[in-house]
Amino acid sequence: MSHPPRTHRDRRALWRSPLRGPWLTSVLGLILLFGLPVLFVTGLLSYAAYNPDLSPVNDQTPDKGLLGFYLFTWPTNPSWLYRVNQGVHVTLGIVLVPVLLAKLWSVIPKLFIWPPVRSVGHALERLSLLALVGGGLFEFATGVLNVQLDYIFPGSFYPLHFYGAWIFMAALVVHVALRIPVMVRALRSRDLRAELRTRASDTKPEPPDETGLVSPQPAAPTMSRRGALAMVGTGSFALLVVTAGQSIGGPLRETAVLAPHGRNPGSGPNGFQINKTAMAVGVRARDIGPDWRLVVRGATGRETVLTRERLLRLPRHGAALPIACVEGWSTSDQRWDGVRLADLAALVGHADRPPRVLVESVQRHGSFRRVVLSDVQVRDPRSLLALRVNGADLSPDHGYPARVIVPGAPGVHNTKWVGRLTFGNFEEGA
């Protein structure tokens, strides 16, 4: 087959790598075809984990409409559910960066095809490709920036990353549907094992075809396809090595040398990862000093005010639970010790089947000062208002005098410095 017809305005000849061609693009596309749906699904699950339908207090995207069609009450089992989900979402996203870049590199000649538009359908497809490339880069960029606390994107992370994902997926699905026959044909056109045995000096350009990816004037090869795939794979592996430890924890944490949570902030019982220190969210010494009180209120209006000493005298229970952040890092199980949320509900008239609870922190700022936990979360016997951790009192940075810990919930739903618990009905104004 010959090259597609070219005109003097065709700039594809600018691109001279002999490796570009439908086979290489398809191999990279195939990796993304498996990886991107995993990112999408784990992303949607993470969104569901915030229980946005439970209360406006939890909802970062009140205008989601049909896009929240799949939401369900987030379970508390297994307790590592959110930890694994988010570790996979963030680590896989970072590991796929070189694959995405290589895929875009492999198709760059298509940007310069002439004529730029061949039909109405072709024009629409190119518009869709803008949403695909722009939307994809937007998703990767907002994710990568958010986990490093570099909030330079134009708005709040949650709506941007959530709606952006739908735009990216809308474009991706149509792109896959239109290109999958080409991909299958291209993958069958060459033998992967033979390709992985071919050295740079023996590398020949792919035969020209209608995709227009093969350079009409290829340069001499300086790298084999095997080498190119190995380089991309090494890039992914390098990113995996410097990142994954922050989600695995234990002795491997220190291997995450470039990730934000690759070190422990201290040693001892309270030496595990901190999302926001007391100082960062404006918790002052007197907010959590001897004058601190916990107000517990029930749906019938019954209210009780507890000091930390009173709380310590209530029946206490233990639970080994992790902290897992939306940013992908997590801790291994910590041994928490405190009062069951269900027992606190019983104090104010909810002896059996306790309802959901509004948890309010004494912290001055931070978007998760208030959070609503579902009845499923309240009723789990491992859901605690924790007073101690790993055999010691909570440190101020871990929520002293009292914090919530719930199995399987996103980290920010484990509210620190709790000042008030309101079971059942409450004013929902944010």
């Binding site: 409409g65 875009l104 940007l111 490339v133 709040s156 952006g164 735009i167 890039g235």
Partner: protein, 188 residues
């Protein structure tokens, strides 16, 4: 009339803009694209309900910045390195691979490496923010050192093979045939 249509009609206008002929439409493609745009529109009005200009700028800008700046820049740099190296086919990967890996780590972790949110990071996590820049430098140095070491080994093997002596031209057992072909001229 027919001749006038041929010279000035819509076909001629399209021809002038490089459109020799419009392709026949695939109805499936149109339907798929319109379904996709419906979803894009539904999510789009929600996405753009805030700072719509900034968000459009980010999405379109991301595509343009990548396709028209980042990619041409590294492609040009790659070509420039190939042009100055004596035998690029043989040696360029000793530069290309460490630069790629080091650049990739920088591209993903630049906010931490460059300390862009040093105060916020330290306040939030209780960890010091000044470890990332030296770590990245060390990794980069290690990558180049490994590449240089590999290069040295390759050069040593070449020199050993070419050394004068009775065994000239007789490759040792199990040795692969040396990379084929004469030195290639620069690619550009």
């Amino acid at each position: 009339m027919k001749a006038a249509l041929h010279r000035f009609g819509p076909g001629a206008v399209l021809h002038r803009f490089g459109l020799r002929r419009l392709e026949r439409e695939s109805p499936l493609r149109l339907v798929l694209l319109l379904c996709s745009f419906a979803l894009t529109g539904y999510a789009g009005v929600r996405l753009l309900s805030g700072d719509w200009f900034g968000i459009v700028l980010w999405i379109v800008g991301a595509a343009l910045l990548h396709d028209l700046v980042l990619l041409p820049l590294y492609a040009f740099a790659d070509r420039a390195v190939g042009a100055v190296l004596p035998d690029p086919a043989r040696w360029i990967n000793h530069v290309r691979v460490p630069v790629f890996l080091s650049g990739l780590l920088m591209l993903v972790w630049f906010p931490l490496i460059l300390g862009r949110q040093e105060r916020r990071y330290e306040h939030a996590t209780g960890l010091s923010a000044d470890v990332f820049w030296p770590r990245w430098l060390l990794i980069t140095a290690g990558l180049f050192a490994a590449s240089a070491l590999w290069l040295a080994v390759r050069v040593a093997i070449r020199v050993w093979r070419r050394r004068p002596g009775p065994r000239r031209g007789a490759p040792a057992a199990g040795e692969r045939k040396p990379p084929a072909g004469p030195a290639r001229p620069s690619r550009s």
